[in-house]
Symmetry: C2
Subunit: 234 residues, 2 copies
Amino acid sequence: MKPDNKGSNGRKQPKKTLVDHVYHEIQNRILYNIWGTGYQALEQELCEELGVSRTPVREALIRLQRDGLVNVVPRHGMRVLPISATDIQQIYQILTSLESLAVELAAARELSARDYKSLDTALKAMKIAQDASDLKAWAQADEDFHYHLVALSANRILIELVDSFWGRAQRARLTMLSIRNNPINSTQDHAKIVDAIRRGDSARARELIEGHRKRGASDLTELMEKHLNILQLS
Amino acid sequence: MKPDNKGSNGRKQPKKTLVDHVYHEIQNRILYNIWGTGYQALEQELCEELGVSRTPVREALIRLQRDGLVNVVPRHGMRVLPISATDIQQIYQILTSLESLAVELAAARELSARDYKSLDTALKAMKIAQDASDLKAWAQADEDFHYHLVALSANRILIELVDSFWGRAQRARLTMLSIRNNPINSTQDHAKIVDAIRRGDSARARELIEGHRKRGASDLTELMEKHLNILQLS
DNA sequence: ATGACAATTAATGGATACCTTAATGGATTT
DNA sequence: AAATCCATTAAGGTATCCATTAATTGTCAT
């Protein structure tokens, strides 16, 4: 997701339309675990909670359902979908694949100095956060980096696709963050990827990010299996 | 998309809810080019056309918009999105990437005889259609084959994702089918892929499908550039 | 004649009212 | 006592209604 407050993430800015507002509000509550896995609410309850009528709620729910965040079943309202170890694994597999493509495309393009700047900025932020052991800032910078990477692919449809995946990925990431002991030194990985892009070596860039993601994913699943009891999953 | 009539494809089966009906109806009209690129209609017009009120129409439009088939802009109703050469290229890039992942996963799994059967059936259908020079049947069989391939990944989220992409992919494919001179002999490609899966050689399988898709994509874009004037693309 | 502003109109976003349907509990029958 | 069926009711699906806002057109002034 975009690091700024456009798109579907975010800080609560008064949105133009109520549907958007409801959408972002519910999304936030799910992503920041205010409404945890399994939380159920009827349309009417959501209306009262959010102070709007059923129309915007219903329309927001359609979008959220497509995002894979909730399930809407007649007579039982919406339900926040569980995110299992399997889900996380599958999500990371997909993200790996899509990001690999993005990086390959980015490396094959002519990038401007401005493009590199966005990557370098994120890289620097990661280093700073890592030195300060600021786990949250690190995660944010990591997210920014990966976002910019995808943006550089110049494949508009791909960017949208990854964006629409962001919610699920974010949930997976946040879930893991809570039990992740130390930030993996992926800062180095990232620097290498940027280098490969700079050299225009698309095959190598793809290789690198694929390895990076796969390592990340296997770390995550390993952690999950260890801490499965702690997490309120499934 | 599933070759049978479940999911979002399809033959017009009387759906349970009006929203579903409207969704499928509009989707069909777009996919089968009854409403071509650039077609515009106000919500009210859609209501009259389909004989329902605005509510189901609006809810269906949200889904269609997410599918990338239409754009809904206030005061101008919905508009069938153009599909440009660039779009087709980008869509194929993404599909290539996702299918590569799917094949890799499939090859790494233990597949049942039943699984292979679904592939073999599609393969056989392709051969028959090819011998009969039945372009339409060939395209259908090709689609079936690729669908089954993805299904064998056992990555539920991936399957859904590709499925939701189906509409756009289908439009790209149909657009191309009209100007495609002869079915590329991808039947051989397919057979090789199935072989690799059978041997459990996931890397090779991935390589093969990636090559297959990339060749297909470049053929398509080449064709598009030649015939750009024929197509009503934007 | 052209541009700007205002009045009109029409389409959307949102609220509400209505109707259909499914879950629940109780009653009746075996 | 258990099972089945019916009645009740609440939730969701759909239609309609209202308010807001943007497009359009017409008029007036420069």
